[in-house]
Symmetry: C3
Subunit: 264 residues, 3 copies
């Protein structure tokens, strides 16, 4: 199902327009390059429409949002919709403050989003299933999460991705689980943001965003596993170096050998 | 005096709300994770009160300040004061421009700050003892610095931390010196910012901020020393990787064995 | 021609004031430190004039520009002109959106810029020779580029630097080619931004910006070559660590042995 998608990213080099947070923006750019796509970051209201017009996908991340930045996201998102450019939303910290929850909801209302990617608390809150969040980290989630996520995906016409030890992907009809990944990934800031960039990279070459999301989760998680095996890893920072390197060194062959996903 | 505090950070995982600069924000987040706390960065006026309400401490850093950001700092700081959440101020570049000096003074006037952490020039300027700064780096300081810092601490009811080869900590009555640290730490940008994040992490679990600051300085400096011993270190960037790893790998035992501080 | 300039940077430690993008700002600060200069980042309209007054050079980078940031750049740039502080402009993404093209042109009109540094598309667009850009990456350029760049340099009274596999430097009369560099440098985000910081560092100690630019290109490219030889390099992230380390470890001797430039 995901065969050949990595090669497609590398040959087509899709331009992934990000409007994202100030914390992990450099990592998002580097992860996009490492997977084989081309990142561009642009958030000025005066240029987001122009920039997204040249892009193959748009990634919106509210990690350090301001109302003005949300305006730019909606402007870019509407233009993306007009042009058929897929939009990925990472609702960082939805549930942590009203500004975050309301902004995520507003974006979902005004922009047709292709993929919503969050942790269990973020998706739980947006899907109406509840969830507990501290800052931007999920600390509790609902047992009804899958049901709520399927309903949310159906309602939005989107793919919903819930990242976690076992990632869940659903477009309302189909459901997939991805088991790739490693606990080291939770020791660095912004793993979730970087995942959204990789999802954006795959959505830039594969318009079935359910498929693209699975491919991204597999590639991202597998790079984490391969990095964790490296003898250089002595802590989060050396892991991070290896992780970026392994993403860059991924091949279709490694993916075939290491992918762990199942369709429900 | 500082025994057990690192374990407390790791078991309680305090949420450390940062309003900080765009240069070192990623490092601040990663250093907070490495020491065992949970970082969150949020600067929108519309959410800072909500975010700090969930936090165990608040770190304010004026490294790339704007007047609007200072408003957000004061709003968050006042809310923190209301809730008894300790506030750490890093007055980056105070003395370098009037905006920085005046903003630092304004924050100290309007917000009850638990810890002010700066280099000798920054503290010298704010304590009225003079000091010379180039950009954000101290190039000269007063001999009367300790006296002025003690007076400043007394007046503010705060702990004052002067980072340097020998760090000074005072709450106006007590004075401590910390000798942990390594010259490599001066070769990377943002060591001071990261230190403030670590102080914020310890203040999140220990309300005697004099103690918390000593613990932070010891942990931070010791990680630097341990990193400097690593054979992987060939320059500032490999040192930085090792430094983050060593912070993550710190234990109470290593701290007992390596701490170098004295009470005056 | 470039002999002794690295040592001059290291002994004088010029303060390099940056107004730059949120993506690579940390790397720009670290690269400035690694080459031996002192970085400071400050973009508030209320302080840019004060900050640039203490600086030895000013680096303007429009990678994530906003109209307000461009105002700050122009304000800082005019003050720099008044004081004789050299200004380096990195017109990131000129040609990609009207906002970028127009802002770059406006800065060039209102500020006397000492060095304009861009890729072939950015310079092509600004020099009126055409050029194709995707996001911020050059994908096509004109054959008339050198002629146009010379004319542009002459018209502006600036040095124009076109970075690429073979870098071109011209002040309208003189032309130089620099062959130092390595393909790994294209696998990390922000190599161009970092180059501008290094050019700014050299312009801080050598007012012949044609010379300073050649010295910067040689040092930057040579550090890339030396890093690429390191056995630790397994991908872009480990390369980046080595690259920063090698910049820090550069010596006049290594430069004499490894420099590859020619005057046309």
């Amino acid at each position: 199902m995901i065969e050949g998608l990595l090669e497609k990213v590398r040959s087509q080099k899709p331009l992934v327009h990000h409007i994202t947070n100030i914390v992990t923006v450099n990592d998002c750019a580097n992860v996009t390059l490492a997977i084989g796509a081309l990142p561009v970051m642009a958030h000025a209201l005066e240029e987001v429409e122009d920039m997204v017009s040249a892009a193959s996908s748009l990634v919106l991340n509210i990690g350090t949002l301001t109302p003005k930045q949300v305006e730019a996201m909606i402007k870019a998102g509407k233009k993306a919709n007009e042009l058929g450019v897929p939009v990925v939303l990472d609702p960082v910290g939805a549930g942590a403050t009203p500004l975050r929850t309301e902004s995520a909801r507003r974006i979902l209302k005004e922009v047709k989003v292709s993929v919503v990617k969050g942790n269990s608390a973020e998706i739980g809150v947006l899907a109406g299933a509840g969830g507990e969040i501290r800052g931007v980290e999920a600390v509790g989630s609902s047992e009804n999460l899958l049901t709520a996520a399927k309903k949310m995906a159906k309602g939005l016409g989107s793919t919903v991705v819930i990242s976690g030890v076992k990632d869940i992907v659903t477009d309302g009809d189909r459901v997939a689980y991805v088991d790739n990944g490693h606990r080291w990934m939770g020791t660095i800031t912004g793993a979730g943001c970087m995942l959204a960039s990789v999802i954006g990279s795959f959505c830039g070459v594969e318009r079935d965003c359910f498929k693209a999301s699975i491919a991204a989760l597999v590639a991202f998680g597998l790079a984490g596993e391969l990095a964790a095996e490296r003898p250089e890893v002595r802590g989060p920072a050396s892991f991070k170096v290896c992780f970026f390197d392994e993403l860059y060194n991924l091949t279709e062959e490694k993916i075939r050998a290491g992918m762990k996903y199942s369709l429900a």
